[in-house]
């Protein structure tokens, strides 16, 4: 492709990103904002692909656009659709003003860092260091080599952050009740899509060793399977029924990572300093556990709490006899025929 048409594409991409971000933030309708935000995520994923960062592009498309969008839409259902009072509107405007000023400052700072960085000669010591040691890492995808081997600490701590987040979600109490069954057509899609998503997650996990992919992308895909099941009206959404097993799965990412690190310490190697001959197998082991943990965390985030138990459901029936489990009255549905 000629440089001119690529430059045109890049300009189009940049303009779309800014326009989508702006319309998502300024839209008066919350649902429209969320959908514009999802479109924004997809275009940002394209931008990452153009920057030759397919791993980040995959993660952005799966987590930034897909799962965040699903989480935001689920959260939107819970929000009251009341018109804000004048005091609230004033406070909202004050918040928006503060956020705008801070965002502008951040953008200015980033622009300054970028220009300062590009003034000097290109700095690629880190990239070259990764390339020279790639053979010892046990994988041939440099991103996975950095995430799981050279900078394994960072990924371990990221998984610990996710574990802390899911503990916070569980502390919110029982999650939302299952949705009502969605009808035969969506059921058929769910039946067809769920196995496909499971296979894709396994593929992304496996391929991460030598091509874009890995635990985060695979975990997000696995979580997408859970969310599809949830939207189809399933209550258990593929999570283990047994609470103890579920907790084990949630802790598996950090647990297996730590167990590998400590075992290596016992064997007289540095913490997470894999022997090159074993590195590939150990990375696959850690990533498999991390995939399950990430997927369980994301699905629980979508439910917005722990899985409802029998006792919770009885409580629901007593406190809200009119609503019933899984009913979702549409607040905007007033029974009036609407014009086209």
């Amino acid at each position: 492709m000629s440089p001119l048409s690529l430059a045109l594409f890049d300009i189009l991409l940049l303009v779309s990103i800014v326009v989508l971000a702006w319309t998502a933030l300024t839209s008066a309708d919350d649902r429209r904002s969320v959908i514009l935000f999802m479109a924004f995520g997809l275009v940002v994923a394209l931008a990452w692909a153009r920057l030759l960062a397919p791993d980040v592009a995959l993660a952005e498309a799966a987590i930034g656009a897909g799962l965040s969008g699903a989480l935001l839409l689920a959260a939107l259902r819970e929000l009251p659709s009341a018109v804000p009072s004048s005091g609230q509107a004033l406070r909202q405007r004050a918040t928006q003003g503060t956020v705008s000023v801070l965002s502008a400052a951040l953008a200015g700072m980033l622009a300054w860092i970028l220009t300062a960085h590009f003034e000097g000669p290109a700095r690629d010591e880190l990239a070259r260091a990764v390339a020279t040691h790639l053979e010892l890492s046990g994988v041939s995808n440099p991103v996975t080599a950095v995430l799981l081997n050279f900078r394994g600490y960072d990924t371990l701590l990221e998984l610990a952050v996710l574990l802390a987040a899911v503990l916070g979600i569980l502390a919110l109490g029982p999650g939302r009740a299952a949705y009502r069954p969605s009808g035969p057509i969506f059921d058929a899609l769910a039946r067809w899509l769920t196995p496909l998503l499971l296979v894709t997650a396994g593929y992304l996990l496996w391929v991460g060793a030598h091509a874009p992919g890995g635990a985060f992308q695979a975990g997000a895909t696995l979580a997408a399977a859970g969310i599809v099941l949830r939207l189809a009206g399933s209550e258990w959404i593929g999570l283990p029924h047994d609470g103890a097993v579920l907790r084990l799965v949630m802790a598996a990412g950090v647990g297996v990572f730590l167990a590998v690190g400590v075992s290596l310490l016992v064997l007289g190697r540095p913490f997470l300093g894999y022997p090159p001959a074993w590195a590939g197998a150990l990375i696959l082991l850690i990533e498999s556990a991390a995939t399950l943990a990430i997927a369980a965390t994301l699905v629980l985030a979508f439910i917005g709490g722990r899985l409802p138990t029998e006792a919770d459901r009885k409580g629901d029936a007593v406190t809200a006899p009119a609503a019933g489990a899984g009913a979702n009255p549409d607040p905007s549905d007033n029974g009036e025929p609407r014009p086209c």
């Binding site: 969605s182 009808g183 969506f186 899609l189 899509l193 496909l196 549905d333 025929p337 609407r338 086209c340």
Partner: protein, 97 residues
């Protein structure tokens, strides 16, 4: 020859996307807009996929492209159905035209 065929297929695909987008913006009611968007885009994506498949280095890539097309066909048909059903339940009337 495959390059020419590929380019023709991709340009045809883009034309369908363009038609679908014009329909989304110009048609009078939700049902006809949905119809324009899903039908035209599905065919547009099919042509685009066929064009890209002609350029792909091996059959594995072709299989992945085909799978993407089928997945989007199923997803867009289902979401069109869900949106239309939701609108019907809320009794949004089709435009008399």
């Amino acid at each position: 020859m495959p390059e020419v065929l590929s380019a023709v297929l991709i340009i045809m695909g883009i034309a369908f996307y363009l038609a679908g987008s014009v329909g989304l913006l110009r048609l009078p009611d939700l049902y006809s807009r949905l119809h324009a968007l899903t039908k035209a885009d599905n065919l547009g994506l099919g042509l685009l996929t066929a064009g890209l498949a002609l350029q792909s280095p091996d059959l594995f890539v072709v299989a992945k492209l085909l799978l993407i097309w089928l997945a989007i066909l199923a997803a867009s048909a289902t979401s069109a159905h869900l949106i239309a059903r939701h609108a019907r339940r809320r009794e949004t009337r089709p435009c008399p035209r």
